[in-house]
Point group: C2
Chain length 217, copies 2
Amino acid sequence: MKERLALALDVPLDRAVLREVSHYIGVLKIGWPLILELGLDGVRELVRSLNWVEVIADLKLADIYDTMSKVVTKLSFVDSFIAHSFIGIEEALGPLKIDLDQKGKGLYLVLSMSHPGWDDEVYPKLLEVVRKVSPKGVIVGATKPTMVAKARKDLSKARILSPGVGAQGGSPGDAICAGADVEIVGRRIYTAKDPVMESRAVLKALEERVSQCLRGT
Amino acid sequence: MKERLALALDVPLDRAVLREVSHYIGVLKIGWPLILELGLDGVRELVRSLNWVEVIADLKLADIYDTMSKVVTKLSFVDSFIAHSFIGIEEALGPLKIDLDQKGKGLYLVLSMSHPGWDDEVYPKLLEVVRKVSPKGVIVGATKPTMVAKARKDLSKARILSPGVGAQGGSPGDAICAGADVEIVGRRIYTAKDPVMESRAVLKALEERVSQCLRGT
């Protein structure tokens, strides 16, 4: 089940600790805070040192293609990138998708964010962009299981990643029970006194919740 | 007039060349491509070595506050940041604005982007966010002078920055004539054979166009 959990690593963790964590959490999500902290070389080394199922660069790309293209070229050591669907297709997500396909990289598009300020009134518009771009998957906040269920219904084949488990209020397993493929947990792990114990606890809670919902309880 | 022109520096320029360019262009806009190329230390040094009127970090911030806060803390050497109004206020732009105010930094919000894929149907929604957050200014693409004029009418006091002059199709002076405060030019300068000559040419074209529109021709 560990391939259904992702660690949002916004601050560096000790290499040995991270190795232990990776026994319970299969996917690694990195972003700008870690890149600014360690530099590109530091992040590259950290990413390559362990066997992650997938490494996702959560850069929330939201610029013209010319700029996004300069960015993704520098991060050839990751498997996939997260971009915002709201920037649209022409001279933005359209050429980015082609570029990433050619590089053998995946693209995830943000469909609904996890924080309360996000306005889901634009969901239909973003869904239209997602359907046209046909990315590897989408991002839907774990804090809103009804939006996860909606996205699963609207996009039967897309991989759904759900951030917001832990500090933001999502409970392990709820998003997967609603139709997500992967749940993302960050602060709850990396600010824990013992990130390894916490990872194991999150994985266990997730497994229990998912086995419950599979039984229909 | 040079304070009304910004250089979008996506690739490094020779220090001596940049010094000459800064005689014609007063504002410096940096972003992720330059940060990934030079590292934070390299960008800090580049920024500090010349007397810019304003240095803007165009990171297109579009994440939850917790993540944006980690990013802006690392870039204390710039004057202002650009974020997307699209992400909304609660646990996003609201706390970011408070944070930047406390740090004495400016916030610009994207109201309308310069590329053709951007959908201006969401303009009223974004305008509402901008009015609530009350940032230092907004971003409206120079490729769409009618949107610049609309933003100027809707936000009489906001500073309007207009990217997209040059490679993206905007002509020097058009956005300012429509109500913008600063026009942003990137590739036309940094990919030019002689960036200094090109900067001078852009400033001259801008001055001519603006003096024309001030005369009402």
